[in-house]
């Protein structure tokens, strides 16, 4: 079993987002982005109805011209 490598929360999130290069070259910007994304996620009210449909609703494509359907 390999040794556990201690990582900061920022490192874990940056790895999960695939932004390892950015974490090395722009660590301050990546840390700001993580904080900003948390603020943004909490910046609006969640609909009270758990089954509310998001916009835009999916619509199946109409049969194409010449379709065999």
């Amino acid at each position: 079993m390999g040794a556990m490598i201690a990582m900061t929360e920022e490192e874990i999130l940056a790895r999960a987002a695939g932004i390892t290069t950015g974490l090395k070259t722009h660590p301050k910007e990546v840390a700001e982005a993580i904080a900003a994304s948390r603020r943004m996620a909490g910046a609006f009210t969640r609909p009270a109805n758990e089954t509310a449909e998001p916009m835009p609703a999916y619509a199946a494509p109409l049969p194409a011209k010449g379709s065999r359907a």
């Binding site: 932004i19 950015g22 722009h26 943004m40 996620a41 609909p47 509310a52 998001p54 916009m55």
Partner: protein, 464 residues
């Protein structure tokens, strides 16, 4: 008497039809104006004057032979450099796409070209229509023609600056969180974000698929109506395009305001994001003038600006991250620092947050729709302040929350910004916003034209 370069599209069209001057003479006058003041406002990133002149020569011959193809025949329109034109790169004002050569016109450019329009310049933008005024990019940022030390607004910054500075009579911008209306607000011109899907986005570099709009930017309401009429139309190749018949938006413009009820959304600028005293006074004065001209004014309450802005950001960031993810991961240093900082949060938004924002969006749409059961149009603030200094990073950052434009990217309703005064303190334009029900552009133009006729701002231009 106006100089040639000061003529609006409508005035130039009439002058050409009456053979008072040719499309080439008009274009040459604009080219001379660009040479005179272009270096002060940095509106143009790719000049195409020679190609446009050849098109103007052809248009002149065509008009002499058989009359104009349309009211736009032989007339120039600038393009924000995220909109494709065949034979030239679409750089998005970024070093990442400096060589992004395009072989076909964007659908909206093709429509205008078919009407006879010519395209003398690609115009500055905030990088990928999201950055901000940046000094670490291949092209300098556009500047405000009313005072070049100030921000012209963005992201369609070059479009606002070129039209405001009389370098071009009209330009196309794009608007995902207010990017046509922000420069219109700061440059003292007319900017329209039409109903989502009315104008095709095909061939326009996307920022956020469900929020992006292409819009006309002009100095007069009549020009805006003329240009939108030529831009609009269903495009089966754009999945968001609306199957709505193009209209003659100019037809209702002389009708005046009698019979219209306008909902004044005061809380946007009085409570949610308190506007500067001069902006608030100018908005109240505009409401009074609209009432004097015959409209019934009624106070309307919508959800708070914070709610609309929160939903806009969550959607915009998530959708933009899907577009920019590869470049953000592989070459983050190739973005301007301000663009990198704006785009990076999208990589950390959770899928659940995106879906929650799209669910909340439906509720916000319903709230605005309910308002349109009571009124024909809405009057709101556009910007809460006049343009700040372009090199004041903190103040520039504040211009993004301190506005009331994003609600109508979230809902897709048409919204127009126009000038409603000049700040006595700073000599910079003040602005208002008129919003209509979906596909209610004709009513917006009707009210805007009546306001423009009654207010004293129409011929006020910056002394560059």
């Amino acid at each position: 008497m106006k100089a040639l370069h000061e003529l609006s599209l409508t005035e130039a069209s009439a002058g050409i039809a009456r053979r008072r001057f040719s499309p080439v003479e008009y274009l040459d006058a604009l080219h001379a104006r660009a040479n005179e003041v272009g270096g002060k406002v940095n509106a143009i990133v790719r000049p195409l004057w020679d190609e446009a002149r050849a098109q103007a020569v052809k248009a002149g011959r065509r008009i002499a032979r058989s009359g104009p193809r349309s009211a736009l025949d032989g007339l120039p329109v600038g393009l924000k450099d995220i909109i494709d034109i065949a034979g030239h790169p679409t750089s998005c004002h970024s070093r990442i796409l400096l060589d992004n050569q395009k072989s076909a016109d964007a659908a909206v450019v093709a429509r205008l070209r078919a009407a006879g329009a010519i395209f003398p310049a690609k115009l500055a933008t905030h990088e990928f229509a999201i950055g901000g005024p940046a000094f670490d990019l291949p092209f300098p940022p556009a500047r405000n023609p009313w005072n070049t030390a100030h921000h012209p607004g963005g992201s369609s910054s070059g479009s606002g600056a070129a039209v405001g500075a009389n370098i071009l009579p009209a330009a196309l911008g794009t608007d995902t969180g207010g990017s046509v209306r922000h420069p219109a607000s700061h440059c003292g011109i007319v900017g329209m974000k039409a109903t989502y899907g009315l104008v095709s986005r095909r061939g326009v570099f996307p920022l956020a698929f469900t929020l992006d709009h292409v819009g006309p930017m002009t100095r007069t309401v009549a020009d805006n109506a003329l240009l939108l009429g030529m831009m609009a139309g269903h495009d089966p190749a754009d999945p968001g395009s609306a199957a709505h018949k193009p209209e003659n938006y100019a037809r209702q413009m002389k009708k005046g305001l009698r019979g219209l009820t306008i909902g004044y959304v005061r809380h946007f600028h009085e409570k949610d994001q308190p506007a500067s005293a001069e902006m608030a006074t100018a908005l109240d004065a505009a409401a009074k003038l609209l009432a004097k001209e015959g409209a019934k004014i009624k106070t309307i309450t919508l959800p708070s600006l914070t709610e609309f802005a929160g939903v806009n950001r969550a959607i915009l960031m998530s959708e933009a991250a899907a577009i920019h993810g590869k470049w953000l991961r592989e070459r983050p240093g190739d973005y301007a620092n301000i663009t990198l900082r704006r785009l990076l949060p999208g990589l950390f938004m959770r899928a659940e947050d995106y879906v929650q924002a799209q669910r909340r969006r439906r509720e916000l749409v319903a709230a605005v729709e309910a308002a349109f059961a009571e009124v024909d149009l809405l009057l709101t603030a556009s910007s809460m302040d006049v343009a700040c200094k372009i090199d004041d990073a903190e103040a520039v950052e504040l211009t993004y929350p301190r506005q009331a434009r994003t609600p109508f990217n979230v809902t897709g309703h048409p919204a127009m910004t126009m000038m409603c005064g000049v700040s006595k303190a700073e000599g910079l334009p003040l602005s208002l916003q008129l919003v209509g029900p979906s596909f209610g552009e004709a009513a917006i133009y009707r009210a805007a034209a009546a306001y423009e006729r009654a207010a004293p701002w129409k011929d006020l231009r910056p002394a560059l």
